[in-house]
Symmetry: D3
């Protein structure tokens, strides 16, 4: 993706490269390819910051997230780094278990909220998964709106293999983004691998492309397509779909009505209708 324009507002981040393949689209790359893009604490804190910034950046209308290098979207948590930082193995040993629990709870809260920033980002996020996609890779992908995979992607909800239940979102979100609970239990309780074809068949990803390059190209096309629509319509749609997941239909309908009470007052509606009639492409103001 050589031609991508760097986005200066995101130049300060160390672990993520953010460029723009086309107007209104941001491409965020996890950039630690020599370590299979494995995450240490500094990285997930930065990930949260990047997506919080994207959420309020009115120049950005759609986001693509991928991993740098050929081998991995991300191999997940860098367990060695985590052990050294003490965030997993608990640090200061002489605390009583209740006090240690408070530390762990706060750490997990912080970690979760960095990853949830992807879901809370007001713009659609398309996640491109290739190569190794383990553990945290699934937590991250579950927060994206659309998931695409390269054919070489190899997934696993790996956490039980290191003696823990996944706690950064996979167990909370995966059952709500695919159809088969039996399959979810199978992959989460066994930590077994699954490939792109299985991910597609189960609805975890919605398209499989030949390789990372093709998957990225598809993601850029999709993001460009979304970014040309009315941002009032697109961002409202994301918000309302996320709200629906966690509420009754009755509640969701009500919230939708209140949301659209303002959103329907956008000029985009007339512009879109008029453009449709005139068979030309409308352009919409920033949101």
């Amino acid at each position: 993706m050589s031609a991508a324009t760097p986005l200066p507002a995101y130049a300060g981040y160390k672990h993520f490269i953010t460029t723009s393949p086309s107007a209104g689209v941001a491409h965020v790359e996890i950039n630690r390819p020599d370590k299979l893009n494995a995450f240490h604490e500094g990285m997930w804190r930065e990930l949260g910051a990047v997506f919080n910034q994207l959420s309020r950046d009115s120049d950005v209308r759609a986001v693509v997230l991928s991993g740098a290098g050929d081998r991995a979207f991300t191999a997940g948590l860098d367990v060695k780094a985590a052990a050294e930082e003490g965030s997993i193995l608990g640090g200061k040993v002489n605390l009583d278990p209740a006090r240690k629990a408070a530390r762990f709870r706060r750490s997990v809260d912080d970690f979760q909220s960095c990853i949830s920033a992807i879901e809370k980002c007001e713009k659609p996020v398309i996640c491109v998964m290739h190569g190794i996609c383990l553990g945290l890779a699934i937590d991250i992908a579950c927060c994206a709106d659309v998931r695409l995979a390269a054919r070489d992607a190899r997934f696993a909800v790996k956490e039980v293999d290191i003696g823990m239940a996944a706690d950064i979102g996979t167990l909370s979100r995966l059952p709500k983004i695919v159809g088969s609970a039996s399959w979810v239990k199978d992959v989460c309780l066994t930590a077994r691998d699954f490939n792109a074809a299985e991910a597609l068949a189960q609805g975890f990803v919605s398209r499989v492309l030949d390789d990372k390059k093709a998957a990225l190209a598809e993601a850029f096309k999709l993001a460009a397509f979304m970014s040309e629509k009315s941002p009032v319509a697109v961002q409202g749609t994301k918000e309302l779909l996320n709200h629906a997941r966690d509420h009754t239909v009755e509640d969701s309908l009500r919230y939708t009505g209140v949301w659209n009470a303002a959103a329907l007052q956008t000029k985009d509606l007339q512009d879109a209708l008029l453009s449709n009639l005139q068979r030309r492409k409308p352009t919409f103001e920033k949101l």
Copy 2:
């Protein structure tokens, strides 16, 4: 479907033809084929009224909903009519945005509650989708219990293309009636078309037939099949499945127990058991 018997109780509706292909089955047709069955306000108000009446009509045990003509189930909202009526583009211009918002909110509430009448109808509703199925077509179909498609059906959650988030139910219900959240986000955020095969693969429809005629025939068969069962059992099943969608398993089990505390006192239970033993078809009283 020439042989269908008209249902006199529904003769007064202007935009919907309601007939009976067989005992206990009502067939409701959206009847504005020259405009691709596109909806204006009068139509959706009538749709609500038709289904409210069907819900309490003890002669009806199952309903089939389809669109008249060869070209469309429905092309969705008649945007031109809506603009003239002011329900979309907001009418009286000199209100402040808060007052306009109140108008929009009330209009959306009214509109939603007309369409939700399909879901609230106590009888099972089978929706037959053919040809063009855009925007409101999806909102309507999401309220039905079973969705069948003709092979020529072409679907789109079209709303973002006219600058708005869908607000009549698609965003509230679609994520709960198919398995893949990635696919839902894809079709809702892009407004792209999808065909019958994709709709089947994703579980949006549960069967695809060769053409509208075949799909209708299948729907009539299915509806007839349902209408011959105990209406206490069938209508209870619909209610309990709809309740389950919006409640925890614990809540749903409790509600089920309370519901069946009365329902199990039906004579249908003995009649069904006896008929099973005697290998004859039972008949059940109206509900």
Copy 3:
């Protein structure tokens, strides 16, 4: 499965045979093959007791549930026995309908809570379905974590055919364990049969094997695989996935953090990490 070791602690049950195909795995067989494993009240009460015991039995880390004999997982409720016991047809006739309703409600509550014991069991439960799987078979299977089928399995949500809405859990759980609501409504409202291939395509089961023997072998392998992992990780994963189903993502993330605040203090984490480094199989203490 001749080589299975009997589990003495479960020898007292009359209607279920519980053996151990391998360390940490319990195999529970519904044992009334001459009646197609159909359930009477004594059986479902015992089923609840068996799973409550398994839940707290620290020697057991995974459970396989199947039906004895070649013909049926279970044909469901033994309607004849139920009629004699009065639990379905209501017993004492001279009660007024409100008093009868109280009886029915309490019976359904008791029955539900026996079957829910499978879901509440803290260990993963793999259900192997073969031959006839009707009515209660689906209620039971919906409580398991993973569902496997033999190719000859024939399923039906049969209750409407005996004049009642299913009330032991199918209507509460089935919509939440498969993706397509249209399919769920179809099979629940018609009581029609579906086979193993359809069950797999819809995500109700996650694997189909050639015959019961192969399905059991696969289940034992899967159970053995799970039972060798850290029980803190595996049982936590089951709990968190079940919790997620009935809560918002926000709630689920919070609960996960609190759960793992204690669970991450397990020695299993270090043991698993170390074993991974040393490329040997770890062993974990009982939980």
Copy 4:
């Protein structure tokens, strides 16, 4: 209240007199004083219609509800009429209990939704209770926003005394509008009387006045006071308080933000601020 202006738009109702004591205020009187304002089906249907109309009537900004005559706000359900109509004692006797249950359920639904119209009315409703206030009186009052009592008011949640649990809203709402669950259980389980002082002490009413005349005068003053404020602010406040009752704080905060995103665009905000500065009374446009 002789000087009240009749409101012609409400002249068609038979059982309710609607007048206007001051600009923007509607006074609805239950008008069957010779029968202690006891309700038959025609009355509660009309009550629903009156409040649905008030909700959308932009000339009305606050509503006072009271009972005509000196003796009763309302003695509740006219049991004799209900028995004749069959809505309580069940009508057609030869239905089986399941079918009778469906009738009862639908009747209760309809009845509830007529009474809930008071709660759903977008304008604040002040209920003035005097004399006899039994059964349905409490259901109705629980739907109002503010409850005032005359000193002679005598209340009872009377339903258990006629062999039934209250089903038109008291049991759903009363526990949420007063503080002491022990008191709620006491009055609901015993059907005992309580007087105005007790009602005040428990927070059921928020003020007690000397007699009906004084209570009405106070209600008119309060209603006039509310109707002079910005209707955007007042109606938003009612909506948000009702929403809060049934949602988590998190949900409620979010809904509030979305609601006010439009409401804060009202001109009323500037007008109110400016008027405050200029120490004059602002006037606000209809909503």
Copy 5:
């Protein structure tokens, strides 16, 4: 209360004396007065069993719960016994904290479910509190329907004083049974004493009587009063009020309609109406 009739069906319990002060009323006494009625594990298990039995005992229509002796309703957990049993201080020391946590969680679950049996009991439960009412005393009382106090009652949510957050129900229920959150936080965070007058003012109890004897007499009167009403009405009222606490008004109204669909078919309704007309006391059959 010397004249009370023993209830033979409850004679087998060791720690609770169950008698009947009048027809249909059961009086359960916590019977360990020499230890201030402090609870050890055997006691709370028995308490659960007593209330489960009362719930299904059709001879019982209302229950009074009190503590034997002059000095205490109950001083709460017998901390010394608990420490010996290991249920609080954790028993087997060489488990890792995750495994210990599983033990604690299961113990708390069991303990909670014994106490919750009071709330789940289908009959109204009136709790009479006198003398010392500490810790578990509050958990227990929160499960009752009506709380009465003797003037000498001294209450405290004592748990923080022994280094723990109350976990048997007080923190879950107390905020929902009184009005002032500030007061709840005050007494729960400080563990300070409060007396009967304060308990009454805050709505925790609904009546204060001169001494234990007077409070018991009042409770028996109240229980007798309730037990003479239709049990269909009374038990339905309890159920619906408990349901309302944990559900939205919308949900609660719906549940109420379904509940009463069966309950309104009771003969008690006619009997009650007729008795009212004839100004005689009706009698109602068992439920």
Copy 6:
């Protein structure tokens, strides 16, 4: 309160003075007395930061919040400053209403989350209210755990008087912290003043003291009392009470069990029990 020790870690804040009246207690003063402690955006952002820091500061075990000066806790929003900053009156005028709505929604979200930091603070917060307590004063106080008032406190939910519904938390929290919904509606819909006696009677505050000085002294005593207890017990109690408010009893009991599974492993439990026996004051480690 001259003797209070400054807390250096909080010296960098401009608008809040944070001192320590006794070990483990932090006293936060809103410090803009010349403007009646009215808030501009910089202040509420800082308030959020202060409480986020207190939440994780293990040297602090209880917090007292009050307003500097004699005249006001806070007069609420500094409307003039807000108008200049554009956060209320909407800033950039040429945006369409949908885009303006997005700005308002984000501003309200940010504002809410700063104030909610008080509620989310893991330590108990005691709010001392004196003099003028308008608008935002109520939003802030609703987030505290315990509310005390000086006799001169004058409260109002003032927002409707400036043409808006309160959106920073009052409408979401007030109905859940006092008992009488009628009173809540009264004060929120009219914006009328209420005094300390009324606040106490309604349960909004739990104690009224003679003047600010006495109220502060009481708050310091209360905070010191709480800070001497086990922080594991105190902070767990706060968390569990806040959780209970927004969940069913069933959910809350379960969460409590999981929470205490770790918390009961604290050494504080033994220390507290032992100290009780030895009748000496225990000391507890930081959390």
